[in-house]
C-alpha cells in the first residue's frame, strides 16, 4: 500500500477500500472484537460497507498495510510488557479468553462461556476450533499455563502484568471438561474485566521449548496475523492467518514500524510511505486534513489528564482553596486552544460508561471571581503555588500545565508557576513521597484531583 511496498493499490483507493476502519487498524483488539465486530485484522468486513463487495473481494487477495507507531514493541513476549505500542502489535497475533466489543462490553474470545462458580472461583469454557500459528490445537492447559505464567513467578517470571490480574492466584484445567478454573484470593468482582484486557494465551509446550530470549523474538498465538519477520527496533512484519478460527482478515500483509517524532510520522503518511499513523498531535491535524488522500480519525480515549493537589499540606489543606483552584481554570479554553478541540471536560476521574461514574457531577464552571472569594475565605490569600509537570510524557502536558498555572496566576490573591520536571524524577518523588520535601503521601494515587479532562 505504502510507496515502498510497490503495491498497486494507491492511497486514495486504500482509504476508499478501508472505509471507516483505516485508522482503527492499530487499535484492533483493544476494543473492537465484539461478536460480529471482527475488527481484529483491520479493514475487515465492516469497513467495506460503503464500497460494495467487489473491492472487498479484491482486498482479500492482496492488501498490504503499514502502520507507524511512536515506538516499536519492547519485545514479542505478550506477558512481558506494559506499553500500548507493544500491546497493539501483540493483539494482532495473540488473543485472550475474553475481549471487549466496540462499546467496551466484555465479550467472549477464546472462551465460549464464562461463569462465576463461587467467591474466588471462576470458570472459562475454552473454544474448540482454535489452532495456534504452528498448527497445534489450543487446549485448556495452554490457557491455564498462560494465566499462571503471569501470576506465578515460579511458572514464568516477574511479569509486569501481574497486577493487571490482581487477586488471581492461579488456574488449572478442569477435569473432564474443556474448561479452565481460575482461582482468586477471595471475591474478585472485576476478574472478568481483568481478563478482557490482559492475559494473551500462549502455547505451553512452545514457550517451554524456548529460552526467554527466543520467546521475546518469535510469536505463536491464535490471532489473525502470523509473524513473518521481526527486526528489533525496526519492524514487525506479519501476514494474514489463513487458518484463523474466524474469517481471515482482509489485510494480507501487515507491517509495524515506528517513528518517534510525530512530525516524521505525519510526513511519512503524507508522502505515502505508510498507511496508518497513530498519536497525531493536534498541531499536525491540519496537515492531514489538508491533504486529499489522507484523513484523521479521532477516537475517544479513556486517558484522564489531571492536576493533583496535596490535601495534607498548606494551602491545599483548605477545601475552599482547592475549590478555588477548580473555579480558576477555564477548561473550555484549554480544550479548544491547547488541545484544538480534541478533548472533553470531565469533573470526575471515572468516565461515562465505567463503574462509578456519577452523571450528577459536572466539571466546575470557570468563575475567577468565585475563585478569588474562596481563596480569601480559605485564609491563604497571597499564596504562591508551583505546578510540577512532566514534559512530553503526555499529550501537550507542558502546555496544559502552563495554561493552568496561567489561569491561577491571573487571580489577584494567588500566584502560580510551572516547574518542568523530568518524568522519572517526578515519578520517584510521587512514589517516595518527598515532593516538595513534605510528608509522604499515603498512596501512589495523587491525593486530590482537581481538574480533569480527557485528551
Amino acid at each position: 500500500m505504502s510507496r515502498d511496498t510497490g503495491s498497486p493499490v494507491g492511497r486514495r483507493r486504500f482509504l476508499k477500500m478501508a472505509g471507516g476502519t483505516a485508522a482503527a487498524v492499530s487499535l484492533a483488539g483493544c476494543g473492537s472484537d465484539g461478536e460480529g465486530g471482527d475488527g481484529d485484522g483491520g479493514g475487515t468486513d465492516d469497513g467495506n460497507d460503503s464500497d460494495g463487495g467487489d473491492e472487498g473481494d479484491e482486498m482479500q487477495e492482496e492488501f498490504e498495510v503499514r502502520i507507524t507507531q511512536g515506538q516499536m514493541p519492547s519485545g514479542l513476549d505478550p506477558h512481558d510488557h506494559r506499553e500500548t505500542p507493544t500491546d497493539v502489535v501483540m493483539l494482532h497475533a495473540y488473543e485472550g479468553v475474553l475481549s471487549r466489543d466496540a462499546q467496551g462490553a466484555v465479550v467472549e474470545k477464546l472462551a465460549t462461556e464464562y461463569e462465576r462458580v463461587e467467591d474466588g472461583h471462576v470458570r472459562f469454557s475454552v473454544r474448540e476450533d482454535v489452532q495456534f500459528h504452528n498448527g497445534d490445537d489450543l487446549t485448556p492447559e495452554d490457557v491455564a499455563y498462560s494465566i499462571n505464567r503471569i501470576v506465578q513467578e515460579d511458572v514464568g517470571f516477574a511479569s509486569p502484568q501481574r497486577d493487571q490480574l490482581a487477586g488471581v492466584t492461579g488456574a488449572e484445567a478442569a477435569d473432564d471438561e474443556r474448561a479452565v478454573d481460575v482461582m482468586s484470593d477471595g471475591l474478585n468482582p472485576v476478574v472478568f474485566q481483568e481478563f478482557a484486557t490482559y492475559c494473551d494465551v500462549m502455547q505451553q509446550s512452545w514457550v517451554e521449548d524456548r529460552s526467554k530470549d527466543d520467546v521475546g523474538k518469535e510469536m505463536n498465538g491464535t490471532g489473525p496475523f502470523v509473524l513473518e519477520d521481526y527486526s528489533e527496533d525496526e519492524e514487525v512484519v506479519m501476514s494474514r492467518n489463513e487458518d484463523y478460527w474466524r474469517d481471515p482478515a482482509d489485510v494480507s500483509d501487515l507491517t509495524f514500524t515506528a517513528a518517534e517524532e510525530a512530525s516524521t510520522r505525519v510526513n511519512q503518511l503524507l508522502n505515502e510511505e505508510t498507511d496508518v499513523v497513530v498519536n497525531v498531535p493536534p498541531q499536525e491535524v491540519g496537515r492531514i486534513q489538508g491533504d486529499d488522500v489522507t484523513r484523521i480519525a479521532a477516537a475517544p480515549s479513556t486517558r484522564v489528564i489531571y492536576n493533583a493537589m496535596r490535601y495534607d499540606v498548606e494551602p491545599f489543606d483548605s477545601q475552599e482553596f482547592r475549590q478555588a483552584m477548580n473555579y480558576a481554570v477555564d477548561l473550555e479554553s484549554i480544550v479548544s486552544n491547547v488541545l484544538d478541540g480534541f478533548g472533553e471536560r470531565t469533573g470526575q476521574p471515572t468516565l461515562d460508561g465505567f463503574v462509578g461514574y456519577n452523571s450528577d457531577v459536572d466539571p466546575y464552571p470557570y468563575d475567577p471571581e468565585q475563585a478569588e472569594q474562596l481563596v480569601e475565605e480559605s485564609g491563604y490569600a497571597g499564596a504562591e503555588i508551583e505546578l510540577h509537570t512532566p514534559v512530553g510524557r503526555y499529550l501537550k502536558d507542558l502546555e496544559i500545565a502552563q495554561a493552568v498555572a496561567g489561569f491561577i496566576d491571573e487571580l489577584d490573591n494567588v500566584s502560580a508557576s510551572v516547574n518542568q520536571r523530568d518524568f522519572g524524577a517526578l515519578v520517584d518523588e510521587l512514589l517516595t513521597g518527598n515532593i516538595e520535601d513534605k510528608s509522604p503521601p499515603t498512596a501512589r494515587s495523587p491525593a486530590t484531583a482537581t481538574r480533569r479532562w480527557t485528551g
Binding site: G75, F157, P160, D163, G216, E232, A259, E260, G424
Partner: protein
C-alpha cells in the same frame, strides 16, 4: 619512534581514556534522576512486583558490585541486558552502529565533495562574486540548526516535490555489499540506489555544518599557501597556474583538512542524534534517545562507550595519518 611503537603508545593512552569514559558514564547513571523500575513499570504496580523487577535487573546490588560486574562484562563484550527489551544490549548497540557509520561517512563525503572545490574557488577568486557566494553559503551553513534544516528539506523536497523519501532506512549499504559479493549485481544495484535515495537528505542535513566548516578551512588554507614563497617560486619558474594551485598549494592545504575531517567524523557519529530522530534513521542516536527516555541505562552506557571508542580510534588514525602525509611531523 616507529609507527608500530607510536600506535602502541597511543592505544594504551586510548585505553585509559576509554576506561575514564566508562567510569564517568557509569557514574552518571547514579546521579541522574529517575529509577528505571519506576519508568518501566506503571505507577500503580505493587511494591512487591517492583522489588521483584528491581532484583531481576540487578539494580539492588551495591554500587561497586554493579561497577565491577559491568567492567568485567565489558571485557568480554557483554554490555548487560537492555532493561526495555530484556535482550543483549551489545547486540542492540552493534546492530545500530552500521546505520550511524553510514550516515556519518555519507555526510563527510557530501561535505568534502562540496566544500573543497568551493573553498578553492573562493580562495582563487578572492573578493569576487564566487568568493562572496561561498562565504554567504558558509555562514548560512554554520548558522543553520540541523534539526530545522532537516525538517525543511523533508517538507520541501520530500512532501512537496516528492523527490526523496521523508525518512527511514529500508536497506543498508551492507545489504547492497552482501549482494555484490554474492554476484547478485541487479539486487546490489537496486539496494544501493534505494539506500542512496534514503540517505541523501539526512546526509545533507548532517553534513551542512561540516561543509561550511571545511569550505572556510579550505579557503583560509589556500589563501595562506598561495602567499607562500614556494608558490611565488613556482610561478616565477613558469609553472602553469593550475599546477601551482592544485598540485602544490591545495596539497599542502589538505593536511589540516584531513585532521579536521577525521576528528569531525567522530563528532558526526556522536552528533547524529538529532538528524537520526528527524529522519527516523535507526542508528545509535535514535537508540540513545529512546534509551534515555526509558532509563535503559545498559543501552545508553554502551552506546556512549561505543561512540567514545570510535573517537579514540579515529584520533589515533588521524595522528598516524597526519604524520604520514606531513613529513615534518614525526611520531615522537
Amino acid at each position: 619512534m616507529s609507527l608500530a611503537r607510536f600506535l602502541l603508545k597511543r592505544t594504551l593512552q586510548g585505553l585509559f581514556v576509554i576506561w575514564g569514559v566508562v567510569t564517568v558514564v557509569f557514574g552518571l547513571r547514579f546521579i541522574s534522576p529517575g529509577d528505571p523500575a519506576n519508568v518501566l513499570l506503571p505507577p500503580d504496580v505493587s511494591e512487591g512486583t517492583r522489588q521483584q523487577v528491581v532484583a531481576e535487573l540487578g539494580l539492588d546490588k551495591p554500587l561497586y558490585v554493579q561497577y565491577v560486574d559491568y567492567i568485567a562484562g565489558l571485557l568480554t563484550g557483554d554490555m548487560g541486558m537492555s532493561l526495555v527489551t530484556r535482550t543483549d544490549a551489545s547486540g542492540r548497540i552493534l546492530g545500530k552502529l552500521p546505520a550511524t557509520l553510514e550516515l556519518a561517512v555519507a555526510a563527510t563525503v557530501v561535505a568534502v565533495v562540496i566544500a573543497v572545490p568551493l573553498g578553492v574557488v573562493s580562495a582563487t577568486r578572492r573578493h569576487q562574486p564566487a568568493d562572496y557566494g561561498a562565504t554567504v553559503f558558509s555562514l548560512a551553513g554554520i548558522s543553520t540548526p540541523n534539526f530545522w534544516l532537516g525538517i525543511m528539506l523533508i517538507i520541501v523536497l520530500a512532501v512537496q516535490l516528492n523527490l526523496f523519501p521523508t525518512s527511514r532506512r529500508p536497506v543498508g549499504i551492507d545489504d547492497a555489499f552482501a549482494h555484490l559479493v554474492a554476484f547478485q549485481f541487479g539486487l546490489a544495484w537496486s539496494e544501493l540506489t534505494t539506500w542512496l535515495w534514503h540517505v541523501t537528505l539526512p546526509a545533507i542535513t548532517l553534513g551542512t555544518y561540516f561543509t561550511a566548516l571545511i569550505t572556510r578551512l579550505t579557503r583560509s588554507g589556500m589563501l595562506e599557501e598561495l602567499g607562500q614563497g614556494y608558490v611565488r617560486a613556482a610561478r616565477a619558474k613558469g609553472l602553469p597556474e593550475t599546477l601551482v594551485r592544485y598540485k602544490h598549494a591545495l596539497r599542502n592545504t589538505l593536511i589540516p583538512i584531513i585532521t579536521v575531517v577525521g576528528l569531525q567524523l567522530g563528532t558526526l557519529i556522536g552528533g547524529a542524534v538529532i538528524t537520526e530522530a528527524v529522519f527516523n534513521w535507526p542508528g545509535l542516536g535514535t537508540l540513545i534517545i529512546n534509551g534515555i527516555q526509558a532509563r535503559d541505562w545498559p543501552v545508553v552506557q554502551g552506546s556512549i562507550i561505543v561512540i567514545g571508542v570510535g573517537f579514540v580510534v579515529l584520533n589515533i588514525l588521524v595522528d598516524a595519518l597526519y604524520a604520514y602525509v606531513n613529513p615534518q611531523v614525526t611520531y615522537d
